[in-house]
């Protein structure tokens, strides 16, 4: 662990306020101009059980939840015990090697080689409020003191977080101050040298970033049925619906959600839906409808471990086969998989345009890891060029909704446009939209329409930006990853480079259609290692099917994300 970075973990049971405490710490750091990433480890339960929230911060790059643990705030005894125990694998996270802060009433834990800081958290809190969770604020104060953050920044965060609550807000500031001062008077700081910056950074969750990117991309309707981990985008948009002028609706089921999304886009309002694998499964039939009718839609698919209900609060990248295979027959689809919060914003805005331009479904694949964790971004560009794609003018003569073109893209009229009335059909149709299968099937027209639709993928591929890489130029070994594992893969590459391995990475965030440049980037490499957070290597299979690559697979499917050193070790085994 580097001296200019810190990892703080708050641990307790569901209902203990673990997440709120962690978020205050994260925001304090982001206001201090540090790069921050948080990690939320929780269970499918509303009260009890065990959960924790980790904050990693540094003046340098922060690309994953990181290895190591400097400060533990334990809200119960179990927390002290678990996170200091090197034998318990807390979802792959490292045990504490630094300071453990907890209430002095907690005792009887196994003593280990860490600095125990039992504090009168409750006593200090009760000076200001009888509210039980107030003791967390005291602990936060202590932790911030330990890291050398000035109290003003912390208090500004507390005031913003509890803002509306007036008195509660003040009490929390006082409680934090108690903890802050107590720690400074009685204990030593961590000795970390964090390079604070002068510019506050944006701290944003992946789901919020998706929502924000969509609005910037012209979103007018978001229709979705709640499902973890896609709900964070839904909640963000619902909270801002009036302000953003976005119509937000929770319908009776996901089938309705996608059909509504199709209807809205058909009628000219940019619309999007979102769910996790289970809800997406219910959208499969209508996905093909959008493909056949050539109606733009954007679907946000945030993965969690399956099969079925699986592990609802854990992470996995196991829905790629589903997304690629969804719906009968062949039709063009575009699959994007953002790497981080910034990418969530950018790719989602772009997805909104791509759907309109190519008049076909665009699926944004995220996962719990990315959708539910907060990250800093330096800046957010409010500008984005919205492109409504090819539209005919009112009254155009002999209007053909499905005009056969070289690009595969036809002019799309919107209900309300004069003189362009036509039928859009889920049955195979001709250029006018008239069905070719009722009285007499026309095999030639069928083929022409299939070809036209599928040509859109060629058009897209021609315009696709080159796939990004990391340290690949001189590399003997290439790692290929997709989506949210980009950051941790980079960190693993750094570790392996540090050990003298010539290794680099190909970072895929445009998953389908597969960019042929990936094949070229691989050529000459000694070994190609595909990294995936799933059992069967679904992306690996895609690469083999599309590019005929020979690869080896590094996979993890226990519900947790990769950790940098763990991933480095897993890759190292493959290149020895």
């Amino acid at each position: 662990m580097r001296d200019d970075e810190i990892i703080i973990r708050v641990a307790g049971a569901a209902g203990d306020g673990v997440q709120s405490a962690g978020q205050i710490i994260a925001k304090t750091f982001s206001r201090k101009g540090l790069n921050v990433m948080t990690y939320n480890y929780y269970q499918d339960i509303v009260r009890g059980g065990q959960s924790w929230y980790q904050v990693r911060a540094s003046g340098g790059k922060v690309r994953s939840q990181g290895d190591g643990l400097d400060i533990l705030i334990a809200l119960n005894k179990d927390g002290v015990e678990r996170h200091t125990n090197p034998d318990i694998n807390e979802g792959g996270a490292s045990p504490l090697s630094g300071i453990a802060i907890f209430d002095k009433s907690i005792s009887g834990y196994t003593e280990r080689k860490v600095t125990y800081v039992p504090m009168p958290l409750s006593d200090l809190a009760s000076k200001h409020s009888s509210f039980a969770l107030m003791k967390n604020t005291v602990a936060i104060g202590a932790a911030m003191a330990a890291t050398g953050v000035d109290f003003d920044t912390l208090s500004s965060v507390i005031l913003d977080v509890f803002g509306k609550k007036g008195k509660v807000s003040e009490q929390n500031v006082s409680a934090a101050k108690e903890g802050y001062d107590y720690y400074l008077s009685n204990h030593k700081p961590t000795g970390k040298k964090l390079s604070f910056g002068s510019k506050r950074k944006y701290l944003i969750g992946g789901g919020e970033a998706i929502g924000l990117g969509a609005v910037r991309g012209g979103l007018k309707m978001y229709i979705g049925y709640p499902m973890t981990p896609a709900s964070s985008a839904l909640h963000y948009l619902a909270a801002h619906a009036r302000d953003f002028g976005v119509f937000v609706k929770i319908p009776e089921d996901e089938i309705s959600a996608i059909n509504m999304t199709i209807g809205a886009n058909y009628a000219g309002a940019r619309a999007m839906t979102g769910s996790s694998g289970g809800g997406f499964s219910l959208m499969v039939e209508a996905l093909g409808l959008a493909g056949m009718m050539e109606i733009p839609i954007v679907i946000y698919e945030s993965q969690r471990p399956g099969p079925s209900t699986g592990l609802p609060t854990k992470t996995e990248q196991g829905d790629l086969n589903l997304v690629l295979g969804a719906s009968q027959g062949d039709f063009p689809r575009i699959v994007l998989s953002p790497r981080d919060a910034r990418d969530c914003i950018n790719l989602t805005s772009e997805a909104m345009n791509l759907a309109q331009e190519y008049q076909t479904p665009v699926i944004i694949m995220s996962d719990l890891y990315l959708s539910e964790h907060n990250e800093t971004v330096d800046s957010i560009d409010p500008e984005f060029r919205i492109d409504d794609g090819r539209r005919p003018v009112d009254g155009e003569k002999d209007y053909k909704r499905y005009l056969i073109t070289e690009s595969g893209i036809s002019p799309r009229a919107i209900p309300g446009q004069k003189g362009l009335m036509h039928n859009e059909d889920s049955d195979e149709h001709d250029e006018y939209g008239d069905v070719v299968s009722d009285a007499e099937t026309d095999p030639t027209k069928r083929v022409a329409m299939m070809d036209k639709r599928m040509r859109k993928l060629d058009t897209l591929l021609r315009k696709m930006p080159p796939t990004e890489t990391y340290m690949l130029a001189d590399a003997e070994y290439a790692v290929i990853q997709w989506g949210s594992t980009a950051g941790v893969t980079e960190e693993a590459i750094d570790i392996l480079r540090g050990k003298g391995h010539r290794i680099g990475a190909i970072k895929v965030n445009r998953v389908f259609p597969v960019n042929p440049d990936i094949g070229k980037l691989c050529s000459g490499k000694k070994k190609i290692i595909v990294v995936e957070n799933n059992y069967s290597g679904q992306f690996n299979r895609l690469l083999k099917a599309e590019l005929g690559l020979k690869t080896v697979l590094v996979r993890k499917y226990n519900g947790e994300a990769f950790y940098p050193s763990e991933l480095a070790a897993m890759i190292e085994v493959k290149i020895w």
Partner: protein, 283 residues
């Protein structure tokens, strides 16, 4: 001036001669023309079934989607552009089996659209299986020993769901049909119209004759009286009432939601430009 000819499609309907759907196609075209709705502002959304082929045969914006899924599509079309007149048209299998949940919730939401079901008490397009409105004892490919499941009563269903306009008509009475459809379109909110529409090819029980003998025109004393309506629609057997059973005024969903409520249709509003203040909460 809008005339019925403006609604004439170039494709000849492919229904069997004398199919009940023809009368409904005419009635819809006539009603739209009489109401002076321009074809470019009319959207007909359908499901899958013989009846659902209708959008192919009318010169308006047509959406021939998925079996059972016309109502979510139709609702969203209205939300996206509240200036449009939206008509949902489908079969009894489409609406009362595959689309049951959408029928219920769309009615409850009181989205301003007109939902017409061509109720032939059979699956027509798939060549004759019992449908959710097939009577007990009805013999079909899937019920060779006679149907044992009670038929749905679409009227009580719609009433319980909270539909604000509930009516029934018969393809054998084109004038009545057209009048009811016209009133349905004029109604602000969710209008449901169940139409007895004989399938001359597969349903040899519920024929034109069957209905001619039974239907009579019902006039509600007070169309806003729910109990009266609920009682009236339960009559079945030798006498079957047709007409508008229930109609009340109530705000439509798109009037209630502050985002759709604004006058300019959502689809026509300028895109919302982001400002740095929009991200401030993340600082």
């Amino acid at each position: 001036m809008v005339t019925v000819n403006d609604y004439s499609g170039k494709i000849r309907p492919d229904w069997c001669p004398a199919c009940g759907n023809f009368a409904q196609l005419s009635a819809i075209k006539n009603a739209l023309a009489e109401l002076k709705i321009e074809p470019e502002n009319a959207v007909v959304v359908s499901g899958i079934g013989c009846s659902s082929n209708l959008p192919e045969f009318i010169r308006a914006y047509g959406f021939h989607g998925l079996h059972g899924r016309l109502l979510p599509v139709a609702s969203a079309v209205k939300w996206a552009n509240r200036k449009l007149t939206v008509i949902g048209y489908g079969g009894d299998g489409d609406g009362f089996f595959e689309g049951t949940q959408h029928f219920f919730h769309t009615a409850k939401r009181n989205v301003d659209l007109t939902y017409i079901v061509s109720d032939n008490q059979i699956f027509g397009l798939t060549t004759g299986q019992a449908s959710p409105t097939s009577e007990i004892g009805f013999i079909s490919k899937t019920t060779p020993d006679g149907n044992i499941e009670k038929p749905v009563n679409p009227m009580t269903f719609a009433l319980s769901a909270g539909a604000t306009f509930v009516a029934r008509s018969f393809s054998g009475d084109p004038k009545h049909l057209q009048e009811v459809i016209k009133k349905g379109i004029q109604h602000k909110g969710f209008s449901f119209i169940d139409v007895f529409s004989p399938c001359v090819t597969f349903n040899k029980t519920n024929t034109y004759d069957y209905f001619r003998k039974r239907v009579y025109k019902y006039e509600a004393k007070d169309p806003s009286n729910f109990e009266e309506a609920y009682r009236a629609v339960q009559e079945w057997g030798d006498r079957i009432p047709i007409g508008i059973f229930y109609q009340v005024k109530s705000q439509s969903y798109e009037d209630l939601d502050p985002v759709t409520a604004e006058e300019t249709p959502l689809a026509e509003r300028p895109y919302r430009k982001l400002k740095p203040e929009d991200f401030e909460e993340f600082l």
